[in-house]
Symmetry: C2
Subunit: 246 residues, 2 copies
DNA sequence: AGAATTCAGTGAACGGTGTTTACAGAGTTG
DNA sequence: CAACTCTGTAAACACCGTTCACTGAATTCT
Protein backbone atom coordinates (compact mmCIF):
# COMPACT_ATOMS: atom_id res chain seq x y z
CA UNK A 1 0.00 0.00 0.00
CA UNK A 2 2.41 2.62 1.20
CA UNK A 3 4.40 3.74 -1.78
CA UNK A 4 7.35 4.56 0.43
CA UNK A 5 10.05 1.97 0.80
CA UNK A 6 11.18 0.88 4.23
CA UNK A 7 14.31 2.99 3.99
CA UNK A 8 12.32 6.07 3.07
CA UNK A 9 9.99 5.63 5.99
CA UNK A 10 12.83 5.25 8.44
CA UNK A 11 14.59 8.25 7.01
CA UNK A 12 11.52 10.45 7.29
CA UNK A 13 11.02 9.29 10.85
CA UNK A 14 14.59 10.02 11.84
CA UNK A 15 14.40 13.42 10.22
CA UNK A 16 11.31 14.25 12.26
CA UNK A 17 13.06 13.05 15.41
CA UNK A 18 16.09 15.18 14.70
CA UNK A 19 14.00 18.27 14.28
CA UNK A 20 11.93 17.51 17.33
CA UNK A 21 15.02 17.14 19.48
CA UNK A 22 16.62 20.23 17.99
CA UNK A 23 13.46 22.15 18.75
CA UNK A 24 13.38 20.86 22.30
CA UNK A 25 16.96 21.95 22.87
CA UNK A 26 16.28 25.37 21.37
CA UNK A 27 13.27 25.88 23.62
CA UNK A 28 14.91 24.58 26.74
CA UNK A 29 18.36 26.09 26.56
CA UNK A 30 18.60 28.49 23.64
CA UNK A 31 20.21 28.55 20.25
CA UNK A 32 23.72 27.78 21.42
CA UNK A 33 22.50 24.58 23.03
CA UNK A 34 21.29 23.23 19.70
CA UNK A 35 24.34 21.08 19.20
CA UNK A 36 24.76 18.29 16.71
CA UNK A 37 26.24 16.09 19.37
CA UNK A 38 23.46 16.81 21.86
CA UNK A 39 20.81 16.02 19.28
CA UNK A 40 22.57 12.80 18.28
CA UNK A 41 23.07 11.80 21.90
CA UNK A 42 19.38 12.20 22.60
CA UNK A 43 18.53 10.12 19.55
CA UNK A 44 21.00 7.38 20.39
CA UNK A 45 23.10 7.93 17.29
CA UNK A 46 26.40 9.66 16.61
CA UNK A 47 26.91 13.22 15.46
CA UNK A 48 28.34 12.55 12.01
CA UNK A 49 25.16 10.65 11.16
CA UNK A 50 23.36 13.97 11.12
CA UNK A 51 25.38 14.94 8.08
CA UNK A 52 23.28 12.43 6.13
CA UNK A 53 20.37 14.81 6.76
CA UNK A 54 21.88 18.28 6.89
CA UNK A 55 24.89 19.89 5.30
CA UNK A 56 25.95 21.58 8.50
CA UNK A 57 24.71 22.87 11.82
CA UNK A 58 23.89 26.11 10.10
CA UNK A 59 21.75 24.29 7.59
CA UNK A 60 19.93 22.47 10.36
CA UNK A 61 19.16 25.72 12.16
CA UNK A 62 17.93 27.11 8.88
CA UNK A 63 15.53 24.23 8.40
CA UNK A 64 14.51 24.56 12.01
CA UNK A 65 13.55 28.17 11.38
CA UNK A 66 11.39 27.03 8.48
CA UNK A 67 9.64 24.51 10.71
CA UNK A 68 8.99 27.20 13.27
CA UNK A 69 7.49 29.48 10.62
CA UNK A 70 5.17 26.73 9.49
CA UNK A 71 4.05 26.00 13.02
CA UNK A 72 3.46 29.67 13.73
CA UNK A 73 1.40 30.04 10.58
CA UNK A 74 -0.61 26.97 11.52
CA UNK A 75 -1.23 28.31 15.00
CA UNK A 76 -2.36 31.67 13.69
CA UNK A 77 -4.66 29.99 11.19
CA UNK A 78 -6.16 27.97 14.01
CA UNK A 79 -6.81 31.13 15.99
CA UNK A 80 -8.39 32.63 12.93
CA UNK A 81 -10.67 29.67 12.41
CA UNK A 82 -12.34 30.35 15.73
CA UNK A 83 -13.52 33.82 14.69
CA UNK A 84 -16.73 34.36 12.73
CA UNK A 85 -15.66 34.89 9.16
CA UNK A 86 -17.57 38.17 8.86
CA UNK A 87 -15.96 39.85 11.85
CA UNK A 88 -12.87 41.27 10.23
CA UNK A 89 -11.87 43.44 13.15
CA UNK A 90 -11.89 40.52 15.52
CA UNK A 91 -9.88 38.46 13.06
CA UNK A 92 -7.14 41.04 12.93
CA UNK A 93 -7.13 41.20 16.70
CA UNK A 94 -6.87 37.44 16.89
CA UNK A 95 -3.90 37.22 14.55
CA UNK A 96 -2.00 40.04 16.19
CA UNK A 97 -2.63 38.77 19.68
CA UNK A 98 -1.80 35.29 18.55
CA UNK A 99 1.54 36.51 17.26
CA UNK A 100 2.32 38.24 20.53
CA UNK A 101 1.24 35.27 22.61
CA UNK A 102 3.32 32.91 20.49
CA UNK A 103 6.40 35.14 20.68
CA UNK A 104 6.19 35.49 24.46
CA UNK A 105 5.67 31.76 24.87
CA UNK A 106 8.50 30.90 22.47
CA UNK A 107 11.18 33.58 22.89
CA UNK A 108 14.02 31.44 21.59
CA UNK A 109 12.11 30.52 18.47
CA UNK A 110 11.14 34.14 18.00
CA UNK A 111 14.74 35.24 18.29
CA UNK A 112 15.90 32.63 15.80
CA UNK A 113 13.31 33.47 13.18
CA UNK A 114 12.72 37.18 13.65
CA UNK A 115 15.91 38.58 15.06
CA UNK A 116 18.74 36.76 13.42
CA UNK A 117 21.51 38.37 11.43
CA UNK A 118 21.81 35.35 9.16
CA UNK A 119 20.66 36.77 5.88
CA UNK A 120 19.91 33.41 4.36
CA UNK A 121 16.47 32.86 5.85
CA UNK A 122 14.64 31.33 2.94
CA UNK A 123 10.99 31.28 2.11
CA UNK A 124 8.74 30.79 5.05
CA UNK A 125 5.56 28.86 5.49
CA UNK A 126 4.69 25.82 3.44
CA UNK A 127 6.48 26.64 0.23
CA UNK A 128 4.28 24.46 -1.90
CA UNK A 129 1.05 26.22 -1.02
CA UNK A 130 2.28 29.65 -1.94
CA UNK A 131 5.75 30.04 -3.31
CA UNK A 132 6.34 33.74 -3.14
CA UNK A 133 9.88 33.52 -2.17
CA UNK A 134 12.46 34.85 0.04
CA UNK A 135 11.56 37.31 2.74
CA UNK A 136 9.56 36.85 5.86
CA UNK A 137 6.87 38.75 7.72
CA UNK A 138 4.33 37.15 5.46
CA UNK A 139 2.76 34.86 8.02
CA UNK A 140 1.16 37.92 9.49
CA UNK A 141 0.96 40.08 6.41
CA UNK A 142 -0.72 37.47 4.29
CA UNK A 143 -3.54 37.25 6.75
CA UNK A 144 -3.72 41.00 7.15
CA UNK A 145 -3.81 41.51 3.40
CA UNK A 146 -6.52 38.93 2.95
CA UNK A 147 -8.66 40.41 5.68
CA UNK A 148 -8.28 43.95 4.53
CA UNK A 149 -8.96 43.11 0.92
CA UNK A 150 -12.18 41.44 1.95
CA UNK A 151 -13.26 44.59 3.70
CA UNK A 152 -14.51 47.75 1.98
CA UNK A 153 -12.16 49.90 4.01
CA UNK A 154 -12.50 53.64 3.70
CA UNK A 155 -8.98 54.90 3.26
CA UNK A 156 -8.33 57.87 5.53
CA UNK A 157 -5.75 59.54 3.38
CA UNK A 158 -3.09 61.35 5.37
CA UNK A 159 0.04 59.25 5.60
CA UNK A 160 1.08 60.02 2.08
CA UNK A 161 3.09 57.28 0.47
CA UNK A 162 6.54 58.54 -0.49
CA UNK A 163 6.86 58.43 -4.24
CA UNK A 164 10.19 56.70 -4.12
CA UNK A 165 8.46 53.71 -2.55
CA UNK A 166 5.82 53.32 -5.23
CA UNK A 167 7.75 50.78 -7.25
CA UNK A 168 8.58 48.58 -4.28
CA UNK A 169 5.11 48.84 -2.84
CA UNK A 170 3.57 47.84 -6.15
CA UNK A 171 5.56 44.63 -6.06
CA UNK A 172 4.27 43.91 -2.60
CA UNK A 173 0.76 44.92 -3.64
CA UNK A 174 0.87 42.32 -6.38
CA UNK A 175 2.07 39.66 -3.97
CA UNK A 176 -0.71 40.47 -1.54
CA UNK A 177 -3.42 40.57 -4.19
CA UNK A 178 -2.23 37.31 -5.69
CA UNK A 179 -2.15 35.68 -2.28
CA UNK A 180 -5.65 36.81 -1.53
CA UNK A 181 -6.88 35.62 -4.89
CA UNK A 182 -5.24 32.26 -4.36
CA UNK A 183 -7.41 31.89 -1.27
CA UNK A 184 -10.55 32.25 -3.29
CA UNK A 185 -11.40 35.79 -2.37
CA UNK A 186 -11.45 37.86 -5.54
CA UNK A 187 -9.60 41.11 -5.24
CA UNK A 188 -7.75 43.53 -7.43
CA UNK A 189 -5.49 46.51 -7.07
CA UNK A 190 -8.39 48.87 -6.46
CA UNK A 191 -9.46 47.00 -3.37
CA UNK A 192 -5.94 47.19 -1.97
CA UNK A 193 -4.58 50.59 -2.95
CA UNK A 194 -0.97 51.56 -2.41
CA UNK A 195 -1.83 53.59 0.64
CA UNK A 196 -3.33 50.47 2.23
CA UNK A 197 -0.27 48.42 1.37
CA UNK A 198 1.84 51.11 2.94
CA UNK A 199 -0.30 51.10 6.03
CA UNK A 200 -0.05 47.34 6.35
CA UNK A 201 3.71 47.63 6.27
CA UNK A 202 3.63 50.31 8.95
CA UNK A 203 1.37 48.11 11.04
CA UNK A 204 3.89 45.31 10.77
CA UNK A 205 6.56 47.72 11.99
CA UNK A 206 4.53 48.52 15.08
CA UNK A 207 3.37 44.98 15.76
CA UNK A 208 6.87 43.61 15.38
CA UNK A 209 8.37 46.48 17.33
CA UNK A 210 6.15 45.98 20.34
CA UNK A 211 6.49 42.23 20.39
CA UNK A 212 10.25 42.23 19.95
CA UNK A 213 10.73 44.87 22.63
CA UNK A 214 8.63 42.83 24.98
CA UNK A 215 10.35 39.55 24.21
CA UNK A 216 13.80 41.06 24.58
CA UNK A 217 12.86 43.22 27.55
CA UNK A 218 13.97 46.42 25.88
CA UNK A 219 11.10 48.67 26.78
CA UNK A 220 12.46 51.73 28.55
CA UNK A 221 10.61 50.97 31.76
CA UNK A 222 9.19 47.92 33.47
CA UNK A 223 5.55 47.30 32.77
CA UNK A 224 3.59 45.24 35.25
CA UNK A 225 1.36 44.22 32.37
CA UNK A 226 2.23 45.27 28.82
CA UNK A 227 -0.96 43.85 27.37
CA UNK A 228 -3.06 47.02 27.62
CA UNK A 229 -0.41 48.90 25.71
CA UNK A 230 -0.46 46.25 23.02
CA UNK A 231 -4.24 46.29 22.78
CA UNK A 232 -4.30 50.05 22.70
CA UNK A 233 -1.79 50.01 19.87
CA UNK A 234 -3.90 47.53 17.94
CA UNK A 235 -6.97 49.67 18.41
CA UNK A 236 -5.08 52.66 17.10
CA UNK A 237 -3.78 50.77 14.09
CA UNK A 238 -7.24 49.47 13.25
CA UNK A 239 -8.77 52.87 13.86
CA UNK A 240 -6.40 54.45 11.37
CA UNK A 241 -7.52 51.90 8.84
CA UNK A 242 -11.13 52.86 9.21
CA UNK A 243 -12.23 50.01 11.40
CA UNK A 244 -14.44 51.04 14.24
CA UNK A 245 -13.54 49.93 17.75
CA UNK A 246 -14.52 46.44 18.78
CA UNK B 1 52.77 62.19 38.64
CA UNK B 2 50.38 59.55 37.59
CA UNK B 3 48.59 58.28 40.66
CA UNK B 4 48.21 54.87 39.07
CA UNK B 5 50.80 52.27 39.82
CA UNK B 6 52.58 50.51 37.02
CA UNK B 7 50.52 47.37 37.51
CA UNK B 8 47.27 49.33 37.34
CA UNK B 9 48.28 51.04 34.14
CA UNK B 10 49.19 47.78 32.48
CA UNK B 11 45.99 46.20 33.63
CA UNK B 12 43.86 49.01 32.29
CA UNK B 13 45.72 48.86 29.01
CA UNK B 14 45.23 45.12 28.66
CA UNK B 15 41.58 45.46 29.51
CA UNK B 16 41.13 48.02 26.75
CA UNK B 17 42.96 45.73 24.32
CA UNK B 18 40.75 42.80 25.23
CA UNK B 19 37.61 44.78 24.59
CA UNK B 20 38.95 46.21 21.39
CA UNK B 21 39.76 42.77 20.05
CA UNK B 22 36.45 41.36 21.22
CA UNK B 23 34.71 44.18 19.45
CA UNK B 24 36.67 43.60 16.27
CA UNK B 25 35.75 39.92 16.28
CA UNK B 26 32.10 40.72 16.90
CA UNK B 27 32.01 43.16 14.02
CA UNK B 28 33.93 40.97 11.62
CA UNK B 29 32.44 37.56 12.26
CA UNK B 30 29.51 37.82 14.64
CA UNK B 31 28.79 36.97 18.22
CA UNK B 32 29.81 33.32 17.98
CA UNK B 33 33.25 34.34 16.80
CA UNK B 34 33.93 36.25 19.99
CA UNK B 35 35.84 33.42 21.66
CA UNK B 36 38.20 33.76 24.56
CA UNK B 37 40.91 31.88 22.72
CA UNK B 38 40.63 34.05 19.61
CA UNK B 39 40.88 37.21 21.68
CA UNK B 40 43.84 35.88 23.62
CA UNK B 41 45.57 34.68 20.45
CA UNK B 42 45.26 38.13 18.93
CA UNK B 43 46.68 39.70 22.06
CA UNK B 44 49.59 37.28 22.32
CA UNK B 45 48.47 35.84 25.64
CA UNK B 46 46.69 32.65 26.64
CA UNK B 47 42.99 32.19 27.16
CA UNK B 48 42.99 31.53 30.92
CA UNK B 49 44.60 34.92 31.42
CA UNK B 50 41.31 36.50 30.43
CA UNK B 51 39.79 35.09 33.59
CA UNK B 52 41.82 37.68 35.50
CA UNK B 53 39.58 40.26 33.83
CA UNK B 54 36.21 38.58 33.34
CA UNK B 55 34.35 35.88 35.19
CA UNK B 56 33.35 34.12 32.01
CA UNK B 57 32.74 34.59 28.33
CA UNK B 58 29.19 35.56 29.18
CA UNK B 59 30.45 38.26 31.48
CA UNK B 60 32.76 39.58 28.79
CA UNK B 61 29.93 39.77 26.28
CA UNK B 62 27.90 41.59 28.88
CA UNK B 63 30.61 44.18 29.39
CA UNK B 64 30.99 44.43 25.65
CA UNK B 65 27.31 45.30 25.35
CA UNK B 66 27.81 48.06 27.88
CA UNK B 67 30.70 49.44 25.88
CA UNK B 68 28.57 49.42 22.78
CA UNK B 69 25.80 51.32 24.53
CA UNK B 70 28.22 53.94 25.67
CA UNK B 71 29.62 54.37 22.20
CA UNK B 72 26.18 54.61 20.68
CA UNK B 73 25.16 57.24 23.19
CA UNK B 74 28.33 59.19 22.47
CA UNK B 75 27.71 59.01 18.75
CA UNK B 76 24.13 60.21 19.09
CA UNK B 77 25.23 63.04 21.32
CA UNK B 78 27.78 64.05 18.73
CA UNK B 79 25.07 64.12 16.05
CA UNK B 80 22.95 66.20 18.36
CA UNK B 81 25.71 68.71 18.99
CA UNK B 82 25.72 69.63 15.32
CA UNK B 83 22.10 70.79 15.39
CA UNK B 84 21.12 74.31 16.49
CA UNK B 85 19.86 73.96 20.02
CA UNK B 86 16.59 75.71 19.24
CA UNK B 87 15.59 73.43 16.37
CA UNK B 88 13.88 70.66 18.29
CA UNK B 89 12.38 68.96 15.27
CA UNK B 90 15.74 68.67 13.58
CA UNK B 91 17.27 67.31 16.78
CA UNK B 92 14.74 64.51 16.95
CA UNK B 93 15.37 63.74 13.31
CA UNK B 94 19.09 63.65 13.94
CA UNK B 95 18.85 61.24 16.85
CA UNK B 96 16.46 58.89 15.11
CA UNK B 97 18.42 58.87 11.89
CA UNK B 98 21.60 58.47 13.84
CA UNK B 99 20.18 55.40 15.54
CA UNK B 100 19.17 53.87 12.21
CA UNK B 101 22.50 54.68 10.61
CA UNK B 102 24.39 53.19 13.53
CA UNK B 103 22.28 50.03 13.54
CA UNK B 104 22.72 49.45 9.82
CA UNK B 105 26.44 50.08 10.07
CA UNK B 106 26.82 47.82 13.11
CA UNK B 107 24.33 44.99 12.74
CA UNK B 108 26.17 42.59 15.02
CA UNK B 109 26.40 45.14 17.79
CA UNK B 110 22.76 46.00 17.31
CA UNK B 111 21.77 42.35 17.57
CA UNK B 112 23.85 41.86 20.72
CA UNK B 113 22.46 44.88 22.51
CA UNK B 114 18.92 45.18 21.20
CA UNK B 115 17.87 41.69 20.23
CA UNK B 116 19.35 39.35 22.76
CA UNK B 117 17.37 36.96 24.92
CA UNK B 118 19.88 37.28 27.76
CA UNK B 119 17.82 38.98 30.41
CA UNK B 120 20.81 40.15 32.35
CA UNK B 121 21.59 43.27 30.36
CA UNK B 122 22.39 45.73 33.06
CA UNK B 123 22.11 49.46 33.07
CA UNK B 124 23.28 51.07 29.90
CA UNK B 125 25.28 54.14 29.22
CA UNK B 126 27.79 55.56 31.67
CA UNK B 127 26.33 54.36 34.92
CA UNK B 128 27.86 57.10 36.99
CA UNK B 129 26.15 59.95 35.17
CA UNK B 130 22.65 58.61 35.59
CA UNK B 131 22.06 55.46 37.53
CA UNK B 132 18.51 54.60 36.68
CA UNK B 133 19.11 50.96 36.53
CA UNK B 134 18.14 47.99 34.63
CA UNK B 135 16.29 48.37 31.39
CA UNK B 136 17.39 49.74 28.09
CA UNK B 137 16.00 51.94 25.35
CA UNK B 138 17.07 54.96 27.29
CA UNK B 139 19.86 56.08 25.01
CA UNK B 140 17.18 57.21 22.63
CA UNK B 141 14.42 57.94 25.09
CA UNK B 142 16.50 60.14 27.30
CA UNK B 143 17.21 62.40 24.39
CA UNK B 144 13.61 62.32 23.22
CA UNK B 145 12.32 63.14 26.65
CA UNK B 146 14.72 66.00 27.06
CA UNK B 147 13.83 67.48 23.71
CA UNK B 148 10.13 67.16 24.16
CA UNK B 149 10.18 68.59 27.65
CA UNK B 150 11.98 71.62 26.31
CA UNK B 151 9.24 72.15 23.78
CA UNK B 152 5.81 73.56 24.54
CA UNK B 153 4.11 70.76 22.66
CA UNK B 154 0.40 70.95 22.14
CA UNK B 155 -0.92 67.53 23.04
CA UNK B 156 -3.33 66.28 20.38
CA UNK B 157 -5.38 64.09 22.65
CA UNK B 158 -6.70 60.98 20.94
CA UNK B 159 -4.54 58.01 21.79
CA UNK B 160 -6.01 57.66 25.22
CA UNK B 161 -3.64 56.17 27.72
CA UNK B 162 -5.03 52.91 29.10
CA UNK B 163 -5.72 53.38 32.78
CA UNK B 164 -3.96 50.19 33.73
CA UNK B 165 -0.73 51.72 32.45
CA UNK B 166 -0.95 54.86 34.54
CA UNK B 167 1.13 53.52 37.38
CA UNK B 168 3.92 52.20 35.16
CA UNK B 169 3.93 55.31 33.02
CA UNK B 170 4.19 57.53 36.06
CA UNK B 171 7.36 55.74 37.06
CA UNK B 172 8.78 56.33 33.61
CA UNK B 173 7.56 59.92 33.66
CA UNK B 174 9.49 60.51 36.86
CA UNK B 175 12.62 58.99 35.34
CA UNK B 176 12.32 61.18 32.27
CA UNK B 177 11.63 64.35 34.20
CA UNK B 178 14.52 63.67 36.56
CA UNK B 179 16.82 62.97 33.65
CA UNK B 180 15.83 66.20 31.96
CA UNK B 181 16.28 68.15 35.16
CA UNK B 182 19.68 66.62 35.67
CA UNK B 183 20.66 68.14 32.35
CA UNK B 184 19.85 71.61 33.58
CA UNK B 185 16.57 72.06 31.77
CA UNK B 186 13.90 72.64 34.36
CA UNK B 187 10.80 70.58 33.82
CA UNK B 188 8.01 69.07 35.80
CA UNK B 189 5.18 66.63 35.31
CA UNK B 190 3.00 69.23 33.63
CA UNK B 191 5.46 69.74 30.84
CA UNK B 192 5.61 66.01 30.20
CA UNK B 193 2.10 64.69 30.74
CA UNK B 194 1.31 61.01 30.79
CA UNK B 195 -0.04 61.13 27.26
CA UNK B 196 3.31 62.46 26.06
CA UNK B 197 5.17 59.73 27.94
CA UNK B 198 2.90 57.20 26.35
CA UNK B 199 3.52 58.67 22.94
CA UNK B 200 7.27 58.58 23.45
CA UNK B 201 7.03 54.90 24.24
CA UNK B 202 4.96 54.29 21.12
CA UNK B 203 7.53 56.19 19.10
CA UNK B 204 10.24 53.95 20.46
CA UNK B 205 8.16 50.96 19.36
CA UNK B 206 8.02 52.28 15.81
CA UNK B 207 11.60 53.47 15.63
CA UNK B 208 12.90 50.18 17.01
CA UNK B 209 10.51 48.17 14.88
CA UNK B 210 11.60 49.76 11.64
CA UNK B 211 15.30 49.62 12.42
CA UNK B 212 15.24 46.02 13.62
CA UNK B 213 13.23 44.88 10.63
CA UNK B 214 15.68 46.57 8.34
CA UNK B 215 18.75 45.22 10.11
CA UNK B 216 17.38 41.69 10.16
CA UNK B 217 15.88 41.90 6.68
CA UNK B 218 12.42 40.97 7.88
CA UNK B 219 10.38 43.48 5.96
CA UNK B 220 7.78 41.62 3.95
CA UNK B 221 9.17 42.81 0.66
CA UNK B 222 12.49 44.02 -0.68
CA UNK B 223 12.92 47.75 -0.63
CA UNK B 224 15.42 49.27 -3.01
CA UNK B 225 15.79 52.09 -0.51
CA UNK B 226 14.03 51.92 2.84
CA UNK B 227 15.08 55.41 3.86
CA UNK B 228 12.01 57.24 2.52
CA UNK B 229 9.80 54.93 4.54
CA UNK B 230 11.83 55.66 7.63
CA UNK B 231 11.69 59.40 7.06
CA UNK B 232 8.01 59.28 6.36
CA UNK B 233 7.49 57.39 9.61
CA UNK B 234 9.49 59.98 11.51
CA UNK B 235 7.45 62.78 9.98
CA UNK B 236 4.28 61.04 11.03
CA UNK B 237 5.52 60.49 14.57
CA UNK B 238 6.56 64.09 14.91
CA UNK B 239 3.34 65.29 13.33
CA UNK B 240 1.32 63.38 15.88
CA UNK B 241 3.26 65.11 18.58
CA UNK B 242 2.36 68.52 17.28
CA UNK B 243 5.60 69.32 15.53
CA UNK B 244 5.18 70.87 12.14
CA UNK B 245 7.01 69.34 9.22
CA UNK B 246 10.62 70.28 8.74
C1' DA C 1 66.65 46.54 52.23
C1' DG C 2 64.68 42.37 52.49
C1' DA C 3 60.72 39.47 53.41
C1' DA C 4 55.94 38.79 52.49
C1' DT C 5 52.21 39.25 49.65
C1' DT C 6 49.48 40.27 45.66
C1' DC C 7 48.39 39.13 41.09
C1' DA C 8 48.79 38.80 35.77
C1' DG C 9 50.00 35.25 33.05
C1' DT C 10 51.35 30.17 31.95
C1' DG C 11 50.82 25.16 30.63
C1' DA C 12 48.42 21.13 31.17
C1' DA C 13 44.28 18.98 31.46
C1' DC C 14 38.98 17.90 31.10
C1' DG C 15 35.03 17.62 28.59
C1' DG C 16 32.69 19.76 25.11
C1' DT C 17 32.03 21.33 20.05
C1' DG C 18 31.64 21.02 14.28
C1' DT C 19 33.42 18.53 10.64
C1' DT C 20 36.02 15.09 7.63
C1' DT C 21 37.42 10.58 6.57
C1' DA C 22 37.46 5.70 5.78
C1' DC C 23 34.75 1.97 6.65
C1' DA C 24 30.85 -1.35 7.88
C1' DG C 25 26.41 -3.22 6.99
C1' DA C 26 21.59 -3.20 6.04
C1' DG C 27 18.17 -1.99 2.24
C1' DT C 28 17.28 -1.91 -2.44
C1' DT C 29 17.66 -2.95 -7.21
C1' DG C 30 19.28 -5.34 -11.37
C1' DC D 1 22.68 -13.56 -5.96
C1' DA D 2 25.56 -9.77 -7.24
C1' DA D 3 25.93 -4.77 -7.53
C1' DC D 4 24.77 -0.79 -5.72
C1' DT D 5 22.81 2.81 -2.60
C1' DC D 6 22.60 4.81 1.66
C1' DT D 7 22.48 5.22 6.83
C1' DG D 8 25.26 4.83 10.48
C1' DT D 9 29.91 4.17 12.81
C1' DA D 10 34.69 5.08 14.91
C1' DA D 11 38.66 7.74 14.77
C1' DA D 12 40.76 11.84 14.18
C1' DC D 13 41.49 17.08 13.78
C1' DA D 14 41.14 21.52 15.29
C1' DC D 15 38.72 24.23 17.84
C1' DC D 16 36.09 25.82 22.27
C1' DG D 17 35.20 27.39 27.77
C1' DT D 18 36.90 26.48 32.09
C1' DT D 19 39.75 24.82 36.16
C1' DC D 20 44.01 24.18 38.47
C1' DA D 21 48.62 24.31 40.17
C1' DC D 22 52.43 27.02 39.06
C1' DT D 23 55.78 31.05 38.14
C1' DG D 24 57.67 35.41 38.44
C1' DA D 25 57.33 40.24 38.50
C1' DA D 26 55.18 44.28 40.96
C1' DT D 27 53.88 45.88 45.15
C1' DT D 28 53.52 46.33 50.12
C1' DC D 29 54.99 45.51 54.80
C1' DT D 30 58.36 45.40 58.42
Amino acid sequence: MTEATRRERLRAETERDIRRQARALLVARGRDAVTLRAIARELGITAPALYRYYDSREDLLHQLADDICTDLARELDADLARIPSDDVTEQVYAVCRGFRRWALAHPQEFALVFASTETTLGGCGPDDRHQVGDQFGRVFLEVAGRLIAGHPAPEPGPPDVPESLHADLEVFQRVLVDTVNARGVPADDDLLPLSAVYHITQSWVRLYGHVALEVFGRFPFAMSNPEPMFDSMLAEILGEMGFTGR
